[in-house]
Subunit: 481 residues, 2 copies
């Protein structure tokens, strides 16, 4: 723990902007009945409900269930039989007994939602529950509304939803999702920061988050995949090969966007340290594969082999380190030598000369993750990368399931010059989410499998997820001109 | 509504005595596990729990269920499938999500319990829930502990439980039960007051309750069976033939116990008014039978015919009115004439000369309720009543299911001189509850049917119920000498 850095993070803690939204919709419920309230857009905040009763005096407690939904299909989704592998405590549901009506009930927890379903689970036969009004105290640290961008109505619609996604995830930190996990994850932060530089420009929030990661690096200097800030700032004990390394491009992007050279100077040793630590996982410049679930993230696909992608991420991040060190006027010779070795090993070990695609693991799995990251790492020329991605598009490859992986695919297409294809992929993929009625972009979206969930049940999926916000970045950075 | 009377009731609102009980019992729970905490006696109050976590950082909310139990069998009782006819909102259960551990969780509602079961319904696999300690803020308006009475260990044990029952039900009003309904009912008040005069002598609490009933009489002057005091003082719309009338002996008992003639003067017109209103239900001095559930209470037996018992309650209360009026120096001639007519009609209509028992309704049902109330109404001589009760004991009669009805049976036995039999009935019936491990006496107890519940499911039964507290009255008033 670096207390000085954490003090700097604390000093950068933003004030939240509050917006009160009220629904004046009176509903009278008998036991077993429910009503749905629609706030018209996705919000993150605190709900207050004015309740009363009609009929005889209230001769029993009112037992009320609240269900908060980010999307309309969730309203009728069965959650009682949830048995996914992450905790059902993430279901945004509450059960409350009210002894005395009328009352103004302020629920103490924060929820992410557009819809609230209120059910009178149990009353007595002598009175009905009256919901008089709902009031929402919505919070964000995104300072203001941003003018929409995009060349078409479709792109503008995508931009609107992407901006909303980013805004909702901007709280005291950049959260991965305001429904779940409500926490700062490095992979999400990197993409949020990219979108932020093009939109809200709340650069101090990025700085705060960089300090939070840097200040909670462990004794070896390793940066966690995730930081908790409640009840106190502490690193999660989840360390992922790619996430730790991605601290480097996140810092580089920040320095480039803000010209805050001082922060670069302060944090570059820790950034470079991630390469040193990651290098322990290599034999002869080839990263070791692992059966350990989550040793490297890349995408939320449980069948994805991560070895090749991990190698590529390393090279990508080492190149970011070189760029950062050059900005700071430091020597980069050793790093460049390392990059050359790892790049050569990458081609030798993972490039399949028959398929002319990168393959991963002992089963030589072909995936978007491996090939997209290979492009981003630029171990081949742009021309070769473009051909690689064209082959990939028609190959029998493991596809991305998250907007996170789709982001990297779009970026890779842009980097190797396939800008129009990139734009089509973006508008097709994120546009399909908009067509489902999305107010914010989802944690997971597989157009071929709407039931996709890495958690065994999509009831705990997050429908406003930071890593999905990058269309606002792509549109402004690449597609406007 | 009589505002002056309600102001007087308000002025008599007692302060509650608080007692803090703490359990320092550390339990570590994985998801799905639970722990039971035993406070060692029945309490009414508010629970605070100190919670924390062990393992990795708390990466999901802790979803916790609390179950409050008055008796140990309730701990494992299945409540999930409760489908009784009164609201399951009475089940003393809560579901709470805790976003940030450690925390001190203060549950806002009041519960009646000895045992608390805490279940970690959902956590994540990365941390366990730690329960560090429980703290209970127990409340009562009973001023102090009372010395036990009783000639035997068994009687003393019964007295201890009866005193505890009364004490727990003494809050801002005399409640019927601190679990359910937590309210002032007239039938309960009358018995609580009798026990109170012999024990806690918190006579102002009786006075307050008399004012609450009197002050909420409706425009016709009819007194409700029950008064709500939250969110404001209001009469329930439940009017029961016997409960309205029982205001008279309740007032008489108060005046006799306290010599507060002024309250007698103030309230006797309303008391006598109950007779006048009840008289509308008579044809030729015989009360009309009714199919309406709950038109007259007498006992929680859904098969009990109430006609004969109602007639007897009327006569009993009219005689109480005569005693009250005589105390106040008022004329009673008209009332005495009415009593004579109703008593004659009672014998003509309800006394079966073959069975030599009172029978009720068109099916001539034989019940304890009818015959016991006939004794209490003293339409026969004490000698005849004694014989009646002896015949009743061997007859095929509908038996009492509540301590409320058992109270009247014991009182009737005493009144006609069968004091030893009364004592045996009391020690057998209440003693059997003590043998089940009762800390307080139950709302319902049928030794022949432990599953007895008038609500379709005993999970909502109250196990600390005011009308069960009268052994402390019987022992001190009749069985000490």
């Amino acid at each position: 723990m670096n207390k000085k850095m954490l003090q700097k993070a604390k000093a950068l803690k933003p004030r939240l902007c509050h917006e009160i939204k009220t629904i004046e919709q009176k509903e009278i419920l008998k036991a077993g009945e429910s009503a749905v309230f629609d706030f018209g857009n996705h919000y993150v905040g605190y709900l207050t409900v004015k309740l009363s009763s009609v009929g005889s005096p209230q001769d029993a407690p009112a037992f009320i269930k609240f269900k908060f939904c980010e999307t309309s299909p969730e309203i009728e989704e069965d959650t009682a039989n949830y048995h996914g592998w992450i905790s059902k405590s993430w279901l945004q549901e509450e059960w409350v007994h009210i002894d005395v009506l009328p009352c103004t009930l302020k629920l103490p927890r924060r929820y992410a939602f557009r819809y609230v379903k209120i059910e009178a689970v149990a009353l007595s036969s002598k009175f009905d529950l009256v919901i008089n009004s709902l009031s929402l105290d919505a919070v964000t640290s995104a300072p203001e509304e941003i003018k929409l961008s995009g060349a078409s109505e479709k792109e503008k619609a995508i931009d609107r939803v992407a901006l909303r996604t980013l805004r909702e995830c901007m709280q005291y930190e950049f959260e991965d999702g305001p429904k779940r996990d409500k926490r700062l994850w490095l992979g999400d932060l990197r993409l949020q920061a990219l979108a932020n530089y093009q939109t809200f420009k709340h650069n101090d929030l990025v700085k705060r988050c960089l300090y939070l990661f840097a200040g909670t690096a462990n004794n070896q200097g390793e940066i966690s995949a995730c930081v908790f800030t409640q009840p106190k700032v502490i690193a999660d004990d989840t360390y992922m090969f790619d996430y730790s390394l991605l601290f480097i491009p996140t810092l580089l992007d920040y320095v480039c966007a803000t010209n805050d050279i001082a922060l670069g100077e302060e944090l570059y040793p820790l950034a470079v340290k991630q390469l040193e630590l990651a290098a322990k996982n290599f034999d002869n410049d080839v990263v070791r594969d692992s059966d350990k679930l989550g040793w490297c993230f890349l995408d939320w696909n449980l069948y994805l082999n991560k070895q090749c992608g991990a190698q590529a991420v390393y090279i990508y991040c080492a190149k970011s380190a070189v760029a950062l060190l050059k900005l700071l006027g430091k020597d980069t010779k050793q790093l460049e030598c390392d990059i050359e070795n790892k790049s050569k090993a990458m081609l030798d070990r993972f490039f399949d000369s028959e398929l002319k695609l990168f393959v991963s693991g002992k089963d030589k799995q072909v995936s978007y993750a491996s090939n997209v990251w290979a492009c981003l790492a630029q171990v081949l020329s742009n021309e070769e990368n473009a051909k690689l991605l064209e082959r990939l598009a028609v190959a029998d490859a493991v596809k991305p399931v998250t907007p996170y992986m789709y982001h990297h695919y779009v970026q890779a297409l842009i980097d190797c010059g396939l800008k129009q294809k990139a734009r089509t992929v973006m508008t097709d993929y994120w546009g399909a989410m908009v067509e489902t009625g999305a107010d914010t972009f989802y944690e997971l979206f597989d157009p071929e499998n709407p039931e996709e969930s890495p958690y065994g049940n999509k009831a705990v999926n997050s429908y406003c997820h930071a890593w999905s916000c990058t269309p606002s970045y792509f549109i402004r950075k690449y597609f406007e001109r």
